[in-house]
């Protein structure tokens, strides 16, 4: 009797191609869809928590940095303060008239100027343009005084004309700079005709109109005269505030040094308004929440990983006869272990994928509700599923090792 000739055909090089391995693992994973869903749950929750925490953190800091621009980061304001003295009396101090010059000597100061409210004794402000009858109407326009440096310190932009200088200040010239809104109310739009306004019975020449300022927005509503003029005409004494624009990054330093420079004897009686250190605002908002959510996310991932490990181990025990069969048809221990590792990597990857999508949706959803611009590093959407796969890899190692140790004899024993 002749035995059939066994043909050894031309065969591809690999014993178990990547595609076949993936196919077997996918078939194993998808055999029980409801179990798959439960197994991925932990990873989904963990990855979603991580992605949304990071996403919302990025979004929130985006909002903060929008508001927290360069102008406010370099603004320091020194004002007189008060405190209860040892004998119960309230101690108060006044800013010296040359406070701005003193601050200007500090390295890191870009510009400094003093500001004072002027008590004009109830006098009203009137404009007197020749052709505008409405100009005779009296307006309740606040009158303030400034040193020449104040305009630079608040980043003033001029709509027309110029601002007064130290010369006007020293001479006590009767000039004013009008804020944009004050000029509108007085009907003055240009200064080339040298318009005048009256405060009470006193006439002042308008030398310029302010278009915008980065701080102390009340200037835009006011008629601003030099400090020297205010002192000479209305007896205005100490400034109400020193406005300082610092070099970028010097705000904290200037905030510490300015009181000492302004009032060497009683620096702690001054109140100083300093912007928060860079990044501290962002951290304030996100650090606490982030720490909690990242911890929760990490915990969920740990639980997710343990879940994958447990279910994969359970699946190894359930599928011993399948493992035995695979060994019988020629699978090595490595083949068997590989399949279970790949299965748990797939579970982890799926969890990561769904979790990343959920996290992105959460970020966008919260942003929509809060009217924020959602900001999310797109790399996060790529890294998250990979992280899930990594968790699957780690979680699958022990079950895979157990699977590889299954003896085919035991597995195939007829019970």
């Amino acid at each position: 009797m002749k035995r059939p000739v066994i043909r050894r055909r031309d065969r591809p090089a690999r014993r178990l191609s990547i595609r076949d391995l993936l196919g077997e693992a996918l078939a194993g994973v998808t055999a029980r869809p409801s179990r798959l869903a439960l197994t991925t749950l932990g990873t989904v929750v963990g990855i979603a928590a991580l992605v949304s925490t990071i996403g919302l953190g990025q979004t929130a800091s985006g909002q903060i940095s929008e508001r927290f621009d360069a102008a406010s980061a370099t603004r320091v304001v020194v004002e007189p303060g008060e405190r209860d003295g040892p004998d119960g009396a309230v101690q108060a101090v006044q800013l010296p008239g040359d406070a701005a010059e003193r601050v200007n000597r500090l390295a890191g100061t870009a510009a400094a100027g003093t500001f004072a409210r002027v008590d004009v004794g109830g006098d009203r402000v009137r404009g007197v343009p020749v052709s505008d009858p409405s100009g005779s109407i009296e307006h309740d326009i606040p009158t303030v005084a400034a040193s020449a440096g104040l305009f630079d310190a608040v980043n003033a932009m001029i709509a027309d004309g110029r601002v007064f200088d130290d010369g006007h200040d020293e001479r006590g010239d009767a000039v004013v700079v009008l804020g944009k809104y004050a000029a509108e109310r007085l009907g003055i739009s240009r200064v080339d005709t040298q318009p005048s306004i009256f405060i009470g019975e006193r006439s002042f020449t308008v030398v310029g109109i302010l278009d915008s300022v980065s701080a102390r927005a009340e200037l835009l509503d006011a008629a601003i005269m030099p400090m020297g003029t205010a002192a000479a005409v209305y007896g205005t004494g100490a400034p109400n505030a020193v406005e300082i624009r610092t070099e970028m990054g010097a705000a904290q330093l200037i905030g510490e040094q300015a009181p000492l420079a302004v009032l060497p004897n009683n620096p702690d009686l001054l109140s100083v308004d300093v912007p928060p250190p860079p990044g501290s605002l962002r951290e304030d908002v996100s650090t606490d929440i982030n720490a909690v959510f990242l911890a929760l996310g990490g915990l969920a991932l740990l639980v997710g990983g343990l879940g994958i490990a447990t279910v994969t181990l359970l699946s190894v025990l359930e599928r011993t006869s399948e493992i035995g069969l695979r060994r019988a048809v020629g699978a090595t221990r490595t083949h068997v272990a590989g399949q279970f590792v790949v299965e748990s990597v797939i579970i982890g990857f799926l969890g990561g994928l769904i979790g990343a999508a959920a996290g992105v949706l959460a970020t966008v959803g919260v942003s929509a509700v809060r009217d924020w611009t959602p900001l999310l590093d797109y790399r996060l959407a790529i890294v998250a599923p990979l992280l899930g796969a990594m968790i699957g890899l780690v979680a699958g190692t022990y079950p895979a090792w157990r699977a590889a140790r299954v003896e085919p004899i035991t597995a195939l024993r007829t019970s």
Partner: protein
């Protein structure tokens, strides 16, 4: 052919025996130490249809595992298809098992959630056979065992006889040198058992080498040659 001629296990000049066991023993370390198989000499020639009979606990399962490279002997040498497998690494044994031996189990061991043709194709998964060829050959083999119409069926929907035929197709498709069957009719009713044995007879006629382990006389008497294992010792049964 006479009985005497049949006892000449093979024509030594031209054919290498499929199985050549010499002094094979398998002792399970104790305590108590169990000598499941002792000093077995067994030669199976190409094309032979052998049945191995014995009562439960006689060592026939151990012998089957040894034959199928699922277990290693503790004594003796085993040459399968001209290859001494006693000294091979686990990896080589796995490969050889997949290529040279087809298993048919009492419990079928078909994978749930995979259709019939996928189950059959599984036995070439760990060999160098392309996916396309695996499925083509699986379909052809299912035709051979009369299951050509159920290739896409879920094994759960098959009758016991159909399941065993699918399992036989799986054992055949990789073109093994030896088909090993372990109580192949144990879970079947008599008519399905008859059908399975008919297939075995047909395969034998086509030249396949078969070894069937059974305790059932109806199964063993279909075989051309019968050996009995008693307390781990093998003896030839003359008919």
């Amino acid at each position: 052919m006479t009985t005497a001629e049949l006892q000449v296990v093979h024509d030594a000049d031209t054919e290498v025996p499929v199985v050549e066991m010499k002094g094979i023993g398998r002792t399970f370390p104790g305590p108590p130490e169990v000598r499941a198989v002792e000093n077995v000499d067994l030669t199976i020639s190409p094309g032979e249809y052998l049945s191995i009979v014995g009562t439960s606990g006689s060592g026939k399962s151990t012998l089957l595992h040894l034959l199928g490279l699922l277990d290693r002997p503790t004594a003796g040498t085993y040459v399968l298809d001209g290859v001494d497998v006693s000294t091979l690494s686990e990896r080589r044994r796995s490969r050889l098992r997949g290529e040279r031996i087809g298993f048919v189990f009492q419990a079928f061991h078909l994978l749930a959630h995979r259709n019939v043709v996928e189950n059959v194709a599984l036995s070439m998964l760990y060999q160098r056979v392309s996916r396309r060829e695996r499925f083509e050959r699986s379909r052809a083999t299912l035709d051979r065992v009369g299951l050509g119409h159920r290739v896409d069926a879920d094994p759960a929907t098959l009758s016991g006889g159909e399941r065993q035929r699918a399992a036989i197709a799986r054992a055949l498709v990789a073109e093994p040198s030896l088909l090993l069957a372990d109580e192949p009719t144990g879970n079947l009713d008599s008519s399905n058992a008859e059908a399975v044995l008919d297939i075995f007879g047909k395969l034998h006629a086509e030249g396949l080498t078969l070894a069937v382990v059974t305790h059932d006389d109806d199964v063993s008497k279909r075989a051309q040659r019968r050996v009995r294992i008693t307390d781990g010792t093998l003896s030839e049964e003359k008919r």
